[in-house]
């Protein structure tokens, strides 16, 4: 009798505090009611190696062939018996995937899954004072059943209720990311996150992949300063000067107060032999740079080059 009472009390408690965000997600009309990426490969984890296993799952899902064992020396830290979030993102990039953080909301994760992107999540399967940090890959969900499925640990199709998932995931502050092929974009509408991701990606990627990523992103978010500048710079790196010029010009139109946009446009105009237009753009840039010392140095260099060109090619 007492036990029954206790259970009842617990149920009442639970009803009072169903995991936040779950109800909104279940009622979200924009999400397909259910979706599962059944083709997602599975790599059962060895002891402590959920990081490499989850990463291998995500990378192989976008046809980047790599095994967990290959990833161990890239993300695992023996003394910590685990992998850090930052290195998970970096290791995905090392293998040629664009890693983009997903907004810290349950529907954002499910939206990616519905769009065909598996999502790497960090969970604390234990409690805050007895943590059990774990990486897993969300591959499917069913809103009416309030279920979510993951490639997790040694389980190929690990089932959780949305509520339990939400609670275990909330403890990592809802940390999640997608690993994408260059040229594809996450489903979520967060151009800043994508811009940040591509800037980090291009540090070690080949020029073509960086260009593809910027190009795809600009097609979707055509007024974003960082994306436009990235498109211009990556087109320039591929010696595609025409597209570089037009990207920088678009940047100066969408962001007339960006010194960087005017400066890079000036460089492109100079390369194409239009010294007077270049000079105008560079002077604009200098004015916009204000007191920023680093920027001024670079713009003055541009002006110097323009002047040198003018001396050599008097009209």
């Amino acid at each position: 009798m007492f036990r029954k009472g206790l259970m009842l009390a617990f149920f009442l408690l639970l009803n009072a505090c169903a995991a936040t965000g779950v109800r909104e997600t279940v009622q979200n009309k924009e999400l397909p009611r259910q979706h599962e990426l059944t083709e997602t490969p599975f790599f059962p984890q060895d002891l402590y190696h959920c990081g490499p296993a989850a990463l291998a799952t995500a990378l192989n899902a976008v046809d980047i062939r790599v095994t967990p064992n290959q990833l161990v020396p890239e993300v695992y830290i023996p003394a910590r018996q685990g992998s850090l979030q930052i290195e998970m993102l970096a290791a995905a990039r090392r293998h040629g995937a664009l890693s983009v953080k997903v907004a810290p909301k349950l529907d954002a994760v499910l939206k990616e899954v519905a769009a065909g992107n598996v999502v790497v999540v960090m969970q604390n399967l234990g409690l805050s004072w007895a943590p059990s940090w774990h990486y897993a890959v969300v591959v499917g969900y069913h809103l009416d059943q309030e279920k979510i499925w993951l490639r997790s640990g040694t389980f190929e199709r690990f089932e959780m209720t949305l509520s339990t998932f939400q609670r275990t995931w909330a403890r990592s502050e809802h940390w999640a990311f997608v690993a994408l092929k260059p040229g594809s974009l996450p489903a979520g509408d967060n151009p800043d996150a994508v811009a940040k991701a591509i800037v980090a990606f291009e540090k070690n990627s080949n020029k073509q992949d960086a260009y593809l990523s910027y190009d795809a992103a600009v097609k979707r978010w055509s007024n974003h300063l960082v994306l436009l500048m990235g498109l211009g710079n990556s087109a320039y790196a591929l010696e595609n000067y025409k597209q570089a010029t037009s990207a920088f010009r678009d940047a100066t139109i969408a962001h007339p107060d960006s010194a960087a946009a005017h400066n890079n446009l000036a460089n492109m105009l100079l390369m194409q032999g239009d010294a007077s237009a270049a000079k105008l753009a560079a002077e604009n840039a200098l004015q916009l740079a204000g007191a920023d010392p680093g920027m001024r140095v670079q713009i003055l260099k541009t002006i110097e080059e323009i002047n040198a060109y003018k001396l050599k090619n008097p009209q």
Binding site: H49, I77, M88, L125, G126, L225
Partner: protein, 131 residues
């Protein structure tokens, strides 16, 4: 030793300040990274942040080796981080959650079993949460 370290820091700081952005394809072009830095962080502290970052890359590499990683691997791992990530790593490497699984479980087995059943945690694959 202190002097050497200080000299090294100053040298590093200077070389970073004067090279400007490493990413620029041509000296006078402004890199996407620079634009992003300005767009996403206040421009005031950028140079200072860059110095701290350069120092923290060293720290992170040392810290990784100390934690059992091969020095060559450690260098590659640090090289794949962005500036922002490197400085975050430097401060987090000891305390940030490391996804591995599963620490002091035995001790709290019963508690976790109960919380599992209640759907607050999910340690044991055989539990079915009541919700």
């Amino acid at each position: 030793m202190v002097l050497v370290k200080r000299f090294f820091s100053a040298f590093l700081a200077a070389s970073i300040l004067f090279t400007g952005s490493i990413q620029t394809v041509q000296a006078a072009m402004i890199s996407s990274e620079q634009v992003a830095e300005q767009a996403f962080t206040g421009s005031a502290d950028q140079d200072r942040a860059r110095i701290i970052t350069a120092l923290s890359r060293e720290d992170v590499q040392v810290a990784l080796v100390e934690r059992g990683i091969d020095p060559v691997q450690a260098r590659e791992r640090v090289a794949s981080l962005t500036d922002e990530e490197a400085s975050a790593m430097a401060s987090q490497i000891e305390n940030a959650p490391a996804g591995g699984i599963i620490g002091a479980i035995v001790l709290v087995f019963l508690v976790l079993l109960l919380t599992d059943i209640l759907g607050f945690t999910k340690i044991f694959p055989f539990t079915r949460s009541v919700r």
